[in-house]
Subunit: 375 residues, 2 copies
Amino acid sequence: MVYAIGLMSGTSLDGIDAALVEISGKNETTAVKLIDFLTVPFSEGTLRRIREALSLESSDVEKICSLNIELGECFAQATLAICKQAGIASTDLAFIGSHGQTIFHIPFARDTLYASTFQIGDPAVICERTKTTVVSNFRERDMAVGGQGAPIVPYSEYVLYQKPNTTRLLQNIGGIGNVTVIPKSGNINDMIAFDTGPGNVIMNELCLYFFNQAYDENGTYASQGKVSQALLEELLAHPYIQKPYPKTTGREDFGKQFTTALLEKWSLVPKDFIATATMFTAKTIAKAVQPFIQGETELIVGGGGSYNQTLIAMIKAELPEVKVMIQEEIGYSSEAKEAIAMAVLANQTLQHCPGNVPSATGAEKAVPLGSITYY
Amino acid sequence: MVYAIGLMSGTSLDGIDAALVEISGKNETTAVKLIDFLTVPFSEGTLRRIREALSLESSDVEKICSLNIELGECFAQATLAICKQAGIASTDLAFIGSHGQTIFHIPFARDTLYASTFQIGDPAVICERTKTTVVSNFRERDMAVGGQGAPIVPYSEYVLYQKPNTTRLLQNIGGIGNVTVIPKSGNINDMIAFDTGPGNVIMNELCLYFFNQAYDENGTYASQGKVSQALLEELLAHPYIQKPYPKTTGREDFGKQFTTALLEKWSLVPKDFIATATMFTAKTIAKAVQPFIQGETELIVGGGGSYNQTLIAMIKAELPEVKVMIQEEIGYSSEAKEAIAMAVLANQTLQHCPGNVPSATGAEKAVPLGSITYY
């Protein structure tokens, strides 16, 4: 077992997630244990500069050139902070896996644009400040073999969640919902991952609109409302929900604009509106995972939505034959999952082992991901 | 000995230089032999997109995201092209060292901008297309330890040009002139590198203005003119020439604007003007290297200026105690020098050995440069 750190900074810009793990083995023999976890928010200035760099209108080459180094310093600081919290020195680490900050993603080529993805946060800076080897830029290699560079976590999910004779459905409920299917065969090539549809995004927009709340804490509003069958039916007819996988969606499909249109068309009591949106998410998840239920099946829910008790109860009601649990019930941390995945991927790369799951990303083959900056 | 390729794409945007070498050893024992060389020009579309990406006005995050991959494909194609030319398979290569295309460089921090440098040309794409391990992004690590990330070639120059009991002055004459001093001690820590001043830039501007020629071929115009002592004196009084090293300059100091001002102030016969500019470059070089002349001393001239016979004759006259030669006279290729350096640096990195020269870049210490993308 060696110490390693995984660093993740998501598109939500909540800050840098740092997971300190103990890790050993490789491929099927990988064993990972979460030792400590920390989220370091960005300073206001850094946050502003990230927003500028990821916008088509305000970005330019100078800003991106500088921000790449600035974020390298931020990732290094997050590493040093979690080491301090855990009482170890950064030189005790065997390696760091750093996802970087995604500032752009072009999933498919069009016109003169190449399919591409763009993560920044200079590994050389992280390496020097922490005196530790860094593995970074995981997504490009998958795209170089025809994958979409996303999702990036299934390999780690396979390593962490695979259970003999059990189909495990890992449902993440962030703004958007996505599921990873680990089939009972245990064969990584049979894994499937896709976006189920909206996660919390519609509920959150409604909470903001009606109650000036960022989200429906514990699902309390939804629990006090009544589902409108008419609205629910309309929502379930959405083309994305009807579409078979593989498929991906985003906030651009189910975000503010979508919710505003609903609010204009439907006049419902606020809590009924929220209850209906909650049921919509529950139904889309149930519908999405239905084809994969086979014998002993567990649905493990993570992400912010896993703390919405009304949503979880609805999912349970929709899937009576499935054992529905949240991450914490099986001893995992939902918030640390992606950061842990970066340590798992780096561990694979350093041993020249693959880290993508072709059946999830669409890649032609499994390849080691990322570049290594040795200290 | 293994086969390796060095790839360089300079700021002049002439295209991708690919050097196929045989290389062995590391540090002082490094041995490199140039096997083949090729320059692959960029397509018009790629060239336009590079120009857009490096301009503050026209760059944006989408263009840079895409171009990183497009250039990765270009670098891969250049690799495959030189392999074909040399009659080997890319899988015969032990590794590729790729400099990437510099699209921005901020040598010193200012306001909210970090000292930073930005090379693109995705190594994962090069790695997959050539089925070969790639080392890339050499400059960031030097900057992470306080260096300027430039010059990047002195380590390779040390390996290639060091000669017992001889001081060697490697003078490159491109648009700007720069010199690397390899002291007779053979101690890498005593190496010095700096810009001597204008190289061909003023001569070229004058040739374009007077004769609509890109440059003074063989120095013919200069050989037919007469040096104006008055203009020469004014030029030699330029603050940059008087300043002690370390120092760097660029086209922004001695380019079109500078030359236009000279043309407005001085009315000379065209060939006298060119002869004077040529003598100016010769004198700045002589003045710059004077302090380093010690015992057996050789000045080895490379770059476009090395083919200007009038300039070379003037330098020889200025430095009677120095043996002045051009690269080809000692069996080296001037045009392949930087691409070869990328193979030398990659070779160092793969063996966890340093590649920067702190006395040249200002770095606090010698460090391995770049990140490794293993095939």
